[in-house]
Symmetry: C2
Subunit: 244 residues, 2 copies
């Protein structure tokens, strides 16, 4: 039994798996990104399918294996890792707040995904482009400011540090970093238009980006590039710019 974490996730996208990778990388933990390994070495999509068949009650990736333990669902996996590696606040109420913030960002990520797939994941983007344009306009006008404004106020409350909670980074700060990074990739004009509305969020994003381990990870080949198969997709026609 190896001590290393085994992450099972789609091999060619950041997707939901990236929230987990960021926690592992910032915590400096060894992990195997199983499905990204060659098939000949036990990786590839066959490894993913085998895992989904073998693990009881695994609905979909990501799944984390740690020794004999299996953890499912992005938020639960991140909370499990954060708990073990100093990325969870110590105070019970702040721990609950951390999980709440991650869950809220998870909701936000689902809404971001729905902008390019409003009719559901069963249809291609090309088959819902018109609908996606309307969804993108409503998102930019209503939902983006609601979520970003909420996170802005959370960080503003913290008078000494650029973090969401308390005096050191906790795992929701990594989530927020990834979401802001993804939004800048997917909706550069829209994000540029709101540049001055969320100064605390921008500071937090920069503070995460320049953490040595994170910076090293982001510059490495382990960090997959954003692309049009993941959560954050850059379709210029959906990047509607202004604030409605």
């Amino acid at each position: 039994m190896s001590d290393a974490y085994e992450l099972y996730y789609w091999p060619s996208i950041q997707g939901r798996g990236e929230f987990i990778r960021l926690v592992l990388e910032d915590a400096d933990q060894a992990y195997v990104d199983v499905v990204r390994r060659p098939e000949a070495e036990g990786g590839g999509i066959p490894a993913l399918r085998r895992m989904l068949d073998e693990v009881p009650r695994a609905f979909a990736p990501p799944v984390l294996k740690h020794g004999t333990l299996t953890v499912r669902q992005t938020t639960d996996i991140c909370a499990y890792l954060a708990e073990r590696h100093g990325l969870m606040p110590n105070v019970p109420d702040a721990r609950r707040a951390a999980n709440h913030l991650a869950a809220t960002m998870y909701d936000f990520a689902v809404e971001i995904h729905n902008v390019h797939h409003p009719l559901g994941v069963a249809l291609y983007y090309e088959d819902q482009k018109t609908e996606a344009r309307r969804a993108a306009a409503a998102f930019a006008e209503h939902r983006l400011p609601k979520f970003l404004g909420f996170f802005e106020r959370c960080i503003e409350r913290n008078t000494t540090q650029p973090w969401l909670l308390g005096d050191r980074l906790s795992y929701p700060d990594l989530w927020l970093f990834q979401i802001i990074e993804g939004l800048h990739y997917a909706l550069p004009k829209t994000m540029a238009a709101g540049r001055n509305d969320y100064p605390s969020v921008a500071r937090a994003h920069e503070a995460v980006r320049t953490r040595p381990r994170l910076a090293s990870y982001l510059a490495s080949e382990r960090r997959l590039p954003f692309n049009e198969h993941g959560l954050f997709r850059h379709y210029p026609e959906l990047d509607v710019g202004g604030k409605g």
Copy 2:
């Protein structure tokens, strides 16, 4: 400080709050459904707005107050209550599985909601009816069988009891009950067409429905009726019937 739980949620819909109410009711716990009380007695929408202003980092209802403690997010609130009142499995791995199943049902509920609001919650249903019909067809053909088939297999694994996990009911069983109940309300023809495909799910649903406290709750005025403002809405034009 009162010992009773205070639930803050929209007063006229089951919505996400209903998952919490079912846990409280099945556990026979006293609770105040604060916003449903008259304004003169400290209830109503003003009470909800006050709470959202006062509670740090409350993004949206539901919120549960318990003495000095505040718990946010539907899944976290249910897990908190389940832990305290015998609706969480005892084994760590099964607890993780319970939270995973609830999180998967939460994802499912979000997808069910998106069927009638594919372009987002910022627009009325009337402004996205055409899109909703396409979303409903894709949902009935792909997503409904994927999720229900998954829960069916989970219960099938349990050779002695109709529950998702182990030999007694845990809180995800209440979630599944509510989802099936809601789907029957929202999509009666579609659900009738798949009636024989999920026998274990149907048995589990019936086993929950006939639990004495639950049956008494469901027959009471505390149980709000389904309506076209909540998560599960009956729009006949979205009830596409067959399995595609």
